[in-house]
Protein backbone atom coordinates (compact mmCIF):
# COMPACT_ATOMS: atom_id res chain seq x y z
CA UNK A 1 0.00 0.00 0.00
CA UNK A 2 1.57 3.32 -0.96
CA UNK A 3 2.32 5.76 1.80
CA UNK A 4 0.12 8.80 1.83
CA UNK A 5 1.86 12.16 1.58
CA UNK A 6 2.02 14.12 4.80
CA UNK A 7 0.09 17.29 4.17
CA UNK A 8 0.57 20.10 6.64
CA UNK A 9 2.22 23.51 6.80
CA UNK A 10 5.50 24.34 8.57
CA UNK A 11 6.94 20.97 7.57
CA UNK A 12 10.52 20.50 8.84
CA UNK A 13 13.35 20.06 6.38
CA UNK A 14 13.89 21.51 2.95
CA UNK A 15 10.79 23.20 1.68
CA UNK A 16 8.18 21.01 -0.03
CA UNK A 17 4.73 21.81 -1.35
CA UNK A 18 2.21 21.43 1.47
CA UNK A 19 -0.32 19.80 -0.87
CA UNK A 20 -0.37 18.19 -4.31
CA UNK A 21 -2.32 19.31 -7.39
CA UNK A 22 -5.95 18.20 -7.21
CA UNK A 23 -6.10 18.33 -3.44
CA UNK A 24 -8.17 20.70 -1.32
CA UNK A 25 -6.92 23.51 0.88
CA UNK A 26 -8.71 25.73 3.35
CA UNK A 27 -7.16 29.18 3.33
CA UNK A 28 -7.50 31.12 6.60
CA UNK A 29 -8.42 34.73 5.80
CA UNK A 30 -10.89 37.07 7.47
CA UNK A 31 -11.21 34.66 10.42
CA UNK A 32 -12.58 31.84 8.35
CA UNK A 33 -11.43 29.08 6.06
CA UNK A 34 -12.32 29.33 2.37
CA UNK A 35 -11.92 26.18 0.32
CA UNK A 36 -10.08 25.71 -2.94
CA UNK A 37 -8.79 22.95 -5.15
CA UNK A 38 -5.14 23.25 -6.11
CA UNK A 39 -4.74 23.23 -9.89
CA UNK A 40 -1.07 23.97 -10.32
CA UNK A 41 2.11 24.37 -8.27
CA UNK A 42 5.31 26.12 -9.21
CA UNK A 43 8.56 26.76 -7.36
CA UNK A 44 10.09 30.13 -6.47
CA UNK A 45 13.75 29.26 -6.33
CA UNK A 46 15.95 29.49 -3.25
CA UNK A 47 18.95 30.05 -5.50
CA UNK A 48 17.44 33.22 -6.95
CA UNK A 49 15.16 34.32 -4.15
CA UNK A 50 12.73 37.19 -4.03
CA UNK A 51 14.89 39.75 -2.30
CA UNK A 52 13.54 42.80 -0.51
CA UNK A 53 15.75 45.65 0.72
CA UNK A 54 14.42 47.93 3.46
CA UNK A 55 17.27 50.29 2.59
CA UNK A 56 19.72 52.09 4.87
CA UNK A 57 18.89 52.01 8.60
CA UNK A 58 20.67 54.03 11.28
CA UNK A 59 22.27 52.25 14.23
CA UNK A 60 19.59 50.57 16.32
CA UNK A 61 16.79 52.18 14.34
CA UNK A 62 13.58 50.58 13.07
CA UNK A 63 11.86 51.13 9.73
CA UNK A 64 8.19 51.78 9.13
CA UNK A 65 5.95 48.78 8.46
CA UNK A 66 6.55 48.34 4.76
CA UNK A 67 4.67 46.24 2.25
CA UNK A 68 6.69 43.40 0.79
CA UNK A 69 5.34 44.26 -2.62
CA UNK A 70 7.26 41.58 -4.48
CA UNK A 71 5.26 38.95 -2.60
CA UNK A 72 1.91 40.12 -3.99
CA UNK A 73 -0.04 37.20 -5.44
CA UNK A 74 -2.42 37.17 -8.42
CA UNK A 75 -6.10 36.46 -7.83
CA UNK A 76 -6.91 32.90 -6.80
CA UNK A 77 -3.37 32.06 -5.92
CA UNK A 78 -1.49 31.69 -2.70
CA UNK A 79 2.21 31.62 -2.08
CA UNK A 80 4.12 29.52 0.42
CA UNK A 81 7.26 31.35 1.50
CA UNK A 82 10.24 30.90 3.76
CA UNK A 83 12.59 33.71 4.64
CA UNK A 84 16.21 34.39 5.53
CA UNK A 85 17.69 37.77 6.42
CA UNK A 86 20.90 38.65 4.64
CA UNK A 87 22.13 41.64 6.65
CA UNK A 88 22.34 41.94 10.44
CA UNK A 89 18.77 43.04 10.92
CA UNK A 90 15.65 41.61 12.48
CA UNK A 91 12.40 41.58 10.55
CA UNK A 92 8.93 41.29 12.04
CA UNK A 93 6.35 39.89 9.64
CA UNK A 94 2.88 41.42 9.37
CA UNK A 95 -0.08 40.08 7.41
CA UNK A 96 -2.47 42.87 7.36
CA UNK A 97 -0.44 45.98 8.03
CA UNK A 98 -1.33 45.90 11.73
CA UNK A 99 -1.30 42.16 12.37
CA UNK A 100 2.00 40.68 13.48
CA UNK A 101 2.85 37.04 12.83
CA UNK A 102 4.87 34.67 15.01
CA UNK A 103 3.63 36.31 18.18
CA UNK A 104 2.69 35.39 21.68
CA UNK A 105 0.77 37.58 24.04
CA UNK A 106 3.71 39.72 25.00
CA UNK A 107 6.43 38.94 22.47
CA UNK A 108 6.79 38.86 18.73
CA UNK A 109 9.41 36.60 17.19
CA UNK A 110 11.36 37.99 14.28
CA UNK A 111 13.60 36.76 11.51
CA UNK A 112 17.26 37.46 12.37
CA UNK A 113 20.73 36.37 11.32
CA UNK A 114 20.39 33.63 13.92
CA UNK A 115 17.35 32.11 12.22
CA UNK A 116 19.54 30.51 9.55
CA UNK A 117 21.81 29.13 12.24
CA UNK A 118 19.18 27.24 14.20
CA UNK A 119 16.61 26.65 11.44
CA UNK A 120 18.61 26.34 8.22
CA UNK A 121 15.57 25.30 6.20
CA UNK A 122 13.45 28.13 7.56
CA UNK A 123 10.41 25.98 8.30
CA UNK A 124 9.54 27.72 11.57
CA UNK A 125 9.16 31.00 9.72
CA UNK A 126 7.09 29.67 6.84
CA UNK A 127 4.11 31.82 5.90
CA UNK A 128 1.43 32.06 3.23
CA UNK A 129 0.20 34.96 1.13
CA UNK A 130 -3.25 34.70 -0.44
CA UNK A 131 -4.64 37.02 -3.10
CA UNK A 132 -4.34 40.58 -1.84
CA UNK A 133 -3.84 39.70 1.82
CA UNK A 134 -0.41 41.20 1.51
CA UNK A 135 2.66 40.67 3.63
CA UNK A 136 4.45 43.54 5.36
CA UNK A 137 7.73 43.74 7.20
CA UNK A 138 9.42 45.99 9.73
CA UNK A 139 13.18 45.86 10.02
CA UNK A 140 15.41 46.82 12.94
CA UNK A 141 19.14 47.38 12.65
CA UNK A 142 20.71 45.10 15.27
CA UNK A 143 24.11 46.74 15.16
CA UNK A 144 25.77 49.79 16.64
CA UNK A 145 26.43 51.31 13.24
CA UNK A 146 24.34 52.32 10.24
CA UNK A 147 23.67 49.58 7.71
CA UNK A 148 23.53 50.51 4.04
CA UNK A 149 21.31 47.63 3.01
CA UNK A 150 18.73 45.69 5.02
CA UNK A 151 17.87 42.70 2.91
CA UNK A 152 15.64 39.68 3.39
CA UNK A 153 15.16 36.84 0.91
CA UNK A 154 12.05 34.74 0.29
CA UNK A 155 11.55 31.48 -1.58
CA UNK A 156 8.87 28.82 -1.82
CA UNK A 157 5.98 27.76 -4.05
CA UNK A 158 2.98 29.35 -5.69
CA UNK A 159 -0.36 27.57 -5.92
CA UNK A 160 -3.04 28.28 -8.53
CA UNK A 161 -6.52 27.62 -7.14
CA UNK A 162 -10.14 27.04 -8.11
CA UNK A 163 -12.68 28.00 -5.45
CA UNK A 164 -14.97 25.26 -4.17
CA UNK A 165 -18.04 27.24 -3.20
CA UNK A 166 -19.97 24.13 -2.26
CA UNK A 167 -18.03 24.00 1.00
CA UNK A 168 -18.48 26.53 3.78
CA UNK A 169 -16.76 27.15 7.11
CA UNK A 170 -19.39 29.63 8.27
CA UNK A 171 -22.54 27.70 7.37
CA UNK A 172 -24.46 26.20 10.27
CA UNK A 173 -23.86 23.34 10.33
CA UNK A 174 -20.46 23.65 8.67
CA UNK A 175 -20.08 21.94 5.32
CA UNK A 176 -16.46 20.86 5.10
CA UNK A 177 -14.53 18.87 2.48
CA UNK A 178 -13.75 15.27 3.41
CA UNK A 179 -10.01 15.95 3.54
CA UNK A 180 -8.28 19.31 3.35
CA UNK A 181 -5.12 21.06 4.45
CA UNK A 182 -5.14 24.21 6.53
CA UNK A 183 -3.27 27.21 5.13
CA UNK A 184 -2.84 29.96 7.74
CA UNK A 185 -2.58 32.89 5.33
CA UNK A 186 -3.28 35.51 8.00
CA UNK A 187 -2.82 35.73 11.75
CA UNK A 188 -5.31 34.03 14.07
CA UNK A 189 -6.44 37.16 15.88
Amino acid sequence: MPALPQLYPYKAGAIEPIVLPGEIVGVWVNKQFTFFQVDYIEGVLRSDPIEFDFGAIAAGATTAVTQLALLEMPDNEFGQFRAAVIDDISVVLYQGRADQRHKLRNRVASYTKFTDLFDPDGHEGEFYVFNDNNAFGQATNQTDYAVVTARIAFWGFRYVLTELSQYSWTAKPQNLPPTWTRVPATAHL
Binding site: G60, S90, T143
Partner: protein
Protein backbone atom coordinates in the same frame (compact mmCIF):
# COMPACT_ATOMS: atom_id res chain seq x y z
CA UNK B 1 41.99 7.52 22.38
CA UNK B 2 41.77 11.01 21.09
CA UNK B 3 38.86 13.09 22.14
CA UNK B 4 37.32 15.60 19.85
CA UNK B 5 35.53 18.80 20.60
CA UNK B 6 32.64 19.72 18.41
CA UNK B 7 32.96 23.35 17.46
CA UNK B 8 29.38 23.86 16.50
CA UNK B 9 28.56 27.39 15.52
CA UNK B 10 26.27 29.06 18.02
CA UNK B 11 26.45 32.55 16.68
CA UNK B 12 27.48 34.72 13.82
CA UNK B 13 30.99 35.83 12.94
CA UNK B 14 32.04 39.46 13.05
CA UNK B 15 35.38 41.22 12.73
CA UNK B 16 36.68 44.32 14.41
CA UNK B 17 38.12 47.28 12.62
CA UNK B 18 41.89 47.24 12.23
CA UNK B 19 43.01 49.08 15.36
CA UNK B 20 46.35 50.87 15.47
CA UNK B 21 47.18 51.19 19.15
CA UNK B 22 47.45 54.91 19.90
CA UNK B 23 49.12 54.87 23.31
CA UNK B 24 51.41 52.41 25.04
CA UNK B 25 50.06 50.51 28.05
CA UNK B 26 46.65 52.08 27.60
CA UNK B 27 43.61 49.91 26.83
CA UNK B 28 41.40 50.96 23.96
CA UNK B 29 38.32 49.47 22.35
CA UNK B 30 39.09 46.70 19.89
CA UNK B 31 35.61 45.31 19.19
CA UNK B 32 32.28 46.86 20.08
CA UNK B 33 29.77 44.12 20.72
CA UNK B 34 26.47 44.33 18.89
CA UNK B 35 23.37 45.67 20.58
CA UNK B 36 21.33 42.77 19.23
CA UNK B 37 17.64 42.11 19.43
CA UNK B 38 16.45 41.34 22.97
CA UNK B 39 19.72 41.90 24.81
CA UNK B 40 23.26 42.85 23.85
CA UNK B 41 25.04 39.83 22.42
CA UNK B 42 27.96 38.09 24.07
CA UNK B 43 31.30 37.85 22.34
CA UNK B 44 33.59 34.83 21.89
CA UNK B 45 37.13 35.64 20.72
CA UNK B 46 37.94 33.42 17.75
CA UNK B 47 40.97 34.96 16.04
CA UNK B 48 43.57 37.67 16.68
CA UNK B 49 45.80 39.16 14.00
CA UNK B 50 48.65 41.50 14.90
CA UNK B 51 51.23 43.31 12.79
CA UNK B 52 54.15 44.94 14.51
CA UNK B 53 56.22 47.48 12.60
CA UNK B 54 56.97 49.68 15.59
CA UNK B 55 60.70 49.07 15.94
CA UNK B 56 60.32 47.13 19.17
CA UNK B 57 58.83 43.87 20.32
CA UNK B 58 55.48 44.29 22.03
CA UNK B 59 53.33 42.56 24.59
CA UNK B 60 49.72 42.73 23.46
CA UNK B 61 46.80 41.90 25.73
CA UNK B 62 43.17 41.34 24.77
CA UNK B 63 40.55 41.86 27.42
CA UNK B 64 37.64 43.94 28.56
CA UNK B 65 37.40 47.34 30.18
CA UNK B 66 39.27 50.59 29.76
CA UNK B 67 41.84 52.32 31.99
CA UNK B 68 42.18 50.61 35.37
CA UNK B 69 39.17 48.41 34.66
CA UNK B 70 41.09 46.45 32.03
CA UNK B 71 40.95 42.69 32.62
CA UNK B 72 42.65 40.32 30.22
CA UNK B 73 40.66 37.40 28.83
CA UNK B 74 43.69 35.63 27.30
CA UNK B 75 47.33 35.56 28.41
CA UNK B 76 49.63 38.26 27.00
CA UNK B 77 50.58 37.77 23.36
CA UNK B 78 54.15 38.51 22.40
CA UNK B 79 54.50 40.28 19.08
CA UNK B 80 57.92 40.47 17.44
CA UNK B 81 58.96 43.61 15.61
CA UNK B 82 58.49 43.31 11.83
CA UNK B 83 56.46 40.13 12.21
CA UNK B 84 52.81 39.42 11.76
CA UNK B 85 51.11 37.08 14.19
CA UNK B 86 47.86 35.12 14.07
CA UNK B 87 46.19 33.24 16.88
CA UNK B 88 43.26 31.16 15.69
CA UNK B 89 40.53 29.10 17.33
CA UNK B 90 42.84 26.20 18.09
CA UNK B 91 45.23 28.52 19.93
CA UNK B 92 42.77 30.56 21.95
CA UNK B 93 41.05 29.51 25.15
CA UNK B 94 37.34 29.77 24.55
CA UNK B 95 34.56 30.53 26.95
CA UNK B 96 31.56 29.29 25.02
CA UNK B 97 29.28 31.55 27.04
CA UNK B 98 31.15 34.57 25.80
CA UNK B 99 32.10 37.93 27.22
CA UNK B 100 29.33 40.41 27.97
CA UNK B 101 31.33 43.50 27.10
CA UNK B 102 33.26 45.23 24.38
CA UNK B 103 36.72 43.76 23.78
CA UNK B 104 39.68 46.02 24.45
CA UNK B 105 43.36 45.80 23.59
CA UNK B 106 46.45 46.98 25.47
CA UNK B 107 49.94 46.99 24.01
CA UNK B 108 53.28 47.75 25.61
CA UNK B 109 54.24 49.65 22.46
CA UNK B 110 52.08 52.07 20.53
CA UNK B 111 51.58 51.62 16.79
CA UNK B 112 50.87 47.89 16.82
CA UNK B 113 48.01 46.99 14.48
CA UNK B 114 45.42 44.56 15.81
CA UNK B 115 42.29 42.98 14.39
CA UNK B 116 40.11 40.28 15.91
CA UNK B 117 37.38 37.96 14.73
CA UNK B 118 34.61 37.10 17.14
CA UNK B 119 31.57 34.90 17.26
CA UNK B 120 28.58 36.73 18.67
CA UNK B 121 25.80 34.79 20.32
CA UNK B 122 22.39 36.07 21.31
CA UNK B 123 19.62 37.36 19.12
Amino acid sequence: MATTYLKQAKGIRRVSDIITVTAAATPETLYQRTTGGQNPRTVILRKVMIYNNTGANAVVEIGTGLLAAFAAIVPPLYSLNLFDNEWTEDDLPVDEVGVSADLTVRSSVLGVQVQCEVEEIGS
